[in-house]
Amino acid sequence: MDNDGTLFSSGVLTEGLIREMRPPESLWKDKKGGLAVVECPQRIPCDPCASNCPAGAIKPFADINDTPVIDHSRCTGCAICAAACPGLACFVIDLTFSHDKALFKLPYELLPVPSRGDAVDCLGRTGEVLASGRVEAVTEPKRDRTRVIHVSAPKDLADHIRAVRAVKRDV
């Protein structure tokens, strides 16, 4: 029953849009620090991604209802957008982490907050567990309790991993 249209209508990005929102391969492949991927396909009155971007990579909006337009050549991968976006729709993905792993910088507002070295479940757009990842760093760029979790996970899932879930540890 779940065709692309109904999936999109319930908040899941479709293949076509995933491709469209992907940074250009040539810039992305070797970009240390990674590039921002912003999954915000609907015009809504909201602009913190652009007004917070310190590099001017997310271009200022002419109309507050604009969807984000990114100049990937200016993006530094700082992930301030990931921390600032009220919709948790900004992610940074660094493909240079290792030969088979990418570093995903993902917004996180749940408890418990995982720590460096923890294993976490890496989730896709419908919450499916795609892989186990390792937390490399936890930052709080805006000091406002939205964490950005840096997690290393298989590089071939760069287009799919968009959230993490803390795994209960046996004590």
């Binding site: 319930s10 990005l13 507050i64 209802n65 729709a89 749940l110 896709g124 919450g127």
Partner: protein, 365 residues
Amino acid sequence: MREFTTDILVIGGGAAGLSAAAEAASAGAGVIIAESDLHLGGQLVKQTHKFFGSRDEYAGTRGYKIAGILMAELDEKGKNALSMTSTTVTGYYPEDGMFTAMRGEESYIGIRAQRCVVASGAQERIIPFVNNDIPGVYGAGAVQTLMNLYGVRPGNRALMIGAGNIGLIVSYQLMQAGVEVAAVAEAMPKVGGYWVHAAKIRRLGVPILLRHSIKEALGERAVEGAVIAELDDKFAPTGAEKRIECDIICLAVGLSPTTEILSHAGCRMSYVPQLCGFAPLRDRTMRTSNPSFWCAGDASGIEEASAAMIEGRIAGLCAARSLGFDADMEKLDEYWSRLDHLRAGEAGEKIRAGIAKVLRGRWED
């Protein structure tokens, strides 16, 4: 009955009321804010998520922090403003310009005011289904209050009815409070709230069941589950049903403006579906057809805190001006341009259509 006298009475201390009071008081008017609740802030105090909108309306800031910013502004500029909490305005007696209010549980007071800004917000709606009166069936706003204001986890596993922004955001906040969300059921063929809010909970594994509504709450003395039904294009049940395991059911099926005081004051009202109920006719200064009354925020039509704050500023400014205070009327155009910006996009289409139905030219004096 103890009596108070002021220039402007602001009914409701939410986003709209606080903004109206700050604006009117900084123009020099004496203001009393009457707020039913134990504290000021209205809906904002329980909103732990970051707001949308533009920087001027504190986008990217969490709702409860915005309440703090507005209260600080009132403290600073509002030397002439007196806030009364636990104070519910119950009536208006035009013959002597007197409002009655209940203070606490026991006492009544009178407030004599020349002008009134009604910023009384909204009420949650409920829909009919079997057993909708058993414990465990909540308004989504009530659940949000329990969790975010009082630190009470309302249950273990929730079914959310309605995928508008409130249903989507409260689902997320339930998860933040450690409550599992079994599903969000939505009668329409697509989510009504912002797509990104839906994506955020989908990513955490919450199914959003489009074209579904609740048929029945299960349980004798408290919710032990629910039956949801699939709907066809005409919103009629197809016969396909599903049992959902849950111990709370949250209804996020819309809000209606709280307008009793406006009706009481004889303000001309109109039923406007896009504004979610009866809404007062108003001019660009937010003045109603009763020249002593202004309206602002959700009480004037369901919208957002961002718009409520601007409407509050307009109402406060213009109510003060009407009493001869030195209000800078140039701000009116700036406020309107901010409102127009917020309402400009597709997301504002409904609100624009609603406002068009209630906006009048200047009232005759």
